[in-house]
């Protein structure tokens, strides 16, 4: 591995070599931590339960593909022959599926904690980084996001709803055909084993060369916003803190998320804002919640209280050794935004 962000990469198989628009965050040297899931049978009085209300601000064009291309008239854009689609809600606004968001956040959570791979990689995985095969092997990310093996499963402690676009309609962009990753590339390996997790850099803009070099995609354009909710239960303070860090909320390690298609050409950059938290954080809150039919109002946190809440739990994640500081440092550099990095024109 090299720290140089722009290094040779033979992934297009031609003489022209494009710089790699990504970096690996290396696995920690120690073996993955082992955690005991708290269970779903009750709301634990020493844990946190509630909902984060998130706003996702699109910085560069975002396209989360459904895998389906349709005629333009099918998405109310007459005159367009074919377009690759995003999910749309019943009101025709764009959607980011909860599964896409969850995967993106989980990948970061895995990287900044001493966790296993959520998905087994294609070749030469370090044996101790493989997904848990037994229930007593669940790692920090597995406890929060879920894990499964033969004849067992753990549902995880959070769920993320589809993010709905706050802007009506959608943009149409062009995306060139991209090369598939080449697992045989030596950049991925360290002593014959895969060395870490891949994250793409953000760029100042998404490359769009128009019709001559690309296919039409339905996209959320710059400055579109999405709203979603992340619901959690039985999270320890440090686990919620790590989740907040994974959402880019640590002021010492701020970053943006990178989601969807076209990551190498600068697409898919989003900044997460937490607008409100509804939380039950002690026995009194739980008692109030289940003592009367009307929800008590004191569960909502906004403004300064919300910032203090975020800071407190992020500090817990750092002080209780859940966060791998070198990995977080490296990841925050890769995912830092704003950036001056330009998309490579010949990709």
């Amino acid at each position: 591995m090299t720290n140089s962000s722009y290094r040779s990469n033979t992934n297009n198989g031609s003489d022209e070599r494009a710089p790699a628009p990504y970096e690996l965050v290396r696995f920690p040297d120690k073996t993955p931590s082992v955690c005991t899931p708290p269970g779903h049978d009750k709301y634990q009085s020493n844990c946190l339960h509630g909902t984060l209300f998130l706003t996702l601000q699109v910085q560069t064009a975002l396209h989360v593909s459904t895998g389906v291309a349709v005629m333009g008239s099918d998405v109310d854009k007459n005159g367009i022959p074919l377009i690759k689609t995003m999910e749309q809600g019943v009101d025709k606004t764009l959607l980011i599926p909860g599964s896409s968001l969850k995967g993106c956040i989980r990948a970061i959570y895995e990287a900044i904690t001493n966790s296993r791979l959520g998905v087994k990689s294609k070749t030469n995985n370090p044996p101790d980084r493989l997904p848990a095969r037994r229930q007593n092997e669940i790692c920090p990310a597995g406890v929060v996001f879920g894990a499964s093996g033969d004849n067992w499963g753990w549902q995880g402690l959070i769920n993320i709803r589809d993010a709905r676009c706050n802007t009506n309609g959608f943009g149409v962009g062009y995306m060139p055909a991209l090369w598939s990753p080449k697992p045989q590339g030596s950049n991925y390996y360290d002593e014959g084993k895969v060395a870490g997790r891949k994250f793409y850099y953000h760029m100042v803009r998404a490359l769009d060369k128009g019709e001559k070099d690309g296919i039409r995609v339905q996209q959320a354009s710059r400055n579109y916003t999405f709203s979603t909710q992340l619901h959690f239960k039985n999270l320890q303070s440090k686990q919620l803190g790590a989740l907040l860090i994974a959402l880019g909320q640590d002021s010492n390690y701020p970053f943006a998320l990178k989601l969807g298609a076209g990551k190498p050409i600068g697409m898919g950059t989003m900044i997460v804002k937490i607008t409100e938290v509804q939380v039950m954080q002690n026995q009194d809150d739980l008692c109030k919640h289940y003592k009367s039919f009307s929800n008590p109002d004191n569960e909502k946190l906004e403004g300064e209280l919300l910032q203090q809440f975020i800071l407190r739990h992020i500090q817990a994640a750092h002080s209780q050794n859940l966060i791998e500081e070198p990995q977080l440092e490296q990841l925050s550099q890769i995912l830092s935004y704003p950036t001056t990095r330009q998309p490579y024109e010949n990709y």
Binding site: K42, T51, P97, G98, N159, D162, Y200, Y290, F293
Partner: protein
């Protein structure tokens, strides 16, 4: 107590998807045009349609009811019989306390089984007693078209960023409405209160139904169409006064009455239903049930249904406080 029938509550509600939902059929059909993971289907109203099975709904409701009871009460049988607790119904070998201590092969008498059972088992049943809650399959409201879509998913390789597994496709319902009814017979107000809290949490997104809940599926909203409480053992006179069957003394007011209110004679309440389990209903007028036999109260206004739930939850809260289960459990 299933031999007598003293009160019955029917909640008529509509379940509305608030995002995608999928109750998986568990088998892959032969139709190649359909996704790998299909919605359960049945024949209803003259055609084939997706639906929400009552068993799926009951499982989700029961699990959350148990979660609430364990949160404010105990998760194992307490020494104090007044404290509320929830058992784990999947551990069928842990029901030894329902057997006669002098003869472990013999079950206790029915009233003793009920008393020994956990609060949630008393509502939902266990290996020895039947459930007093019944929920009907939820069928589509034909006045609102269902929107059924296909979604694709892939598992992304963390190292190479390529597709590791998939794509896999699944069917989801994103719009429409499903109508169902929840029946609760011979209930105490606290039991109705717990169901009200569960439905409140379901509507608020604290839990979901079906497949892929951690990925945002399964969140629904609820709309209440009506709540009907029936007293089969009462009759209504021309002045709209309620008489217990065989009695010449009418009720002094119109009450929502738990089962214990009908079991006040000596020896009539071996199951130990709470006494003084009632509250005055001012907003709803009683009327005769069909065939002039029995009395029913019908709430149709949403504000009134909320009032019914709030009063029931107040009875639940009182039970917690009197049983010493609320808050002191957390120590």
């Amino acid at each position: 107590m299933h031999k007598r029938f003293v009160n019955h509550c029917t909640l008529d509600l509509t379940i509305i998807p608030d995002g995608p939902i999928l109750i998986k059929s568990g088998r892959e059909g032969a139709d190649p045009t359909k996704p790998q993971m299909e919605f359960v289907e049945t024949y209803h109203a003259g055609g084939r349609t997706i639906y929400l099975p009552g068993s799926s709904l009951k499982g989700a409701i029961r699990a959350h009811a148990e979660r609430i009871v364990r949160t404010v009460g105990d998760d194992r049988k307490p020494d104090d019989p007044n404290r509320i607790w929830a058992s784990n119904p999947l551990l069928t070998n842990d029901y030894d306390y329902l057997n006669d201590p002098d003869d472990p092969k013999k079950k206790l008498p029915a009233p003793a089984i009920y008393k020994e059972s956990s609060f949630t088992d008393q509502i939902f049943g266990n290996i020895a007693i039947a459930s007093r809650l019944r929920i009907e399959d939820a069928y589509p409201d034909t006045s609102l078209p269902l929107k059924i879509e296909e979604r694709n998913g892939v598992a992304i390789d963390r190292v190479f960023g390529s597709v590791a597994h998939g794509p896999f496709d699944y069917q989801v319902c994103t719009d429409g409405a499903f109508k169902t009814k929840i029946h609760l017979k011979n209930f105490s107000l606290a039991q109705l209160g717990l169901i009200a809290l569960v439905l409140r949490d379901l509507n608020a997104g604290w839990f979901g139904i079906g497949f892929a809940k951690s990925r945002g599926l399964g969140i629904v909203r609820l709309e209440y169409n009506s709540a009907v409480v029936q007293y089969p053992g009462c009759i209504l006179d021309k002045e709209a006064q309620i008489y217990p069957f065989g009695s010449s003394t009418p009720w002094d007011k119109v009450y929502l009455a738990g089962a214990g209110e009908f079991l006040q004679e000596d020896g009539a309440n071996p199951y130990g239903f709470p006494s003084n389990d009632k509250y005055e209903v001012a907003t709803v007028s009683p009327r005769s049930m069909e065939y002039g036999f029995g009395v029913e109260l019908r709430w149709e206004d949403k504000t009134d249904i909320t009032e019914l739930f709030m009063q029931s939850v107040a009875a639940w809260s009182k039970l917690l406080e009197e049983g010493g289960a609320l808050c002191p459990t957390f120590g």
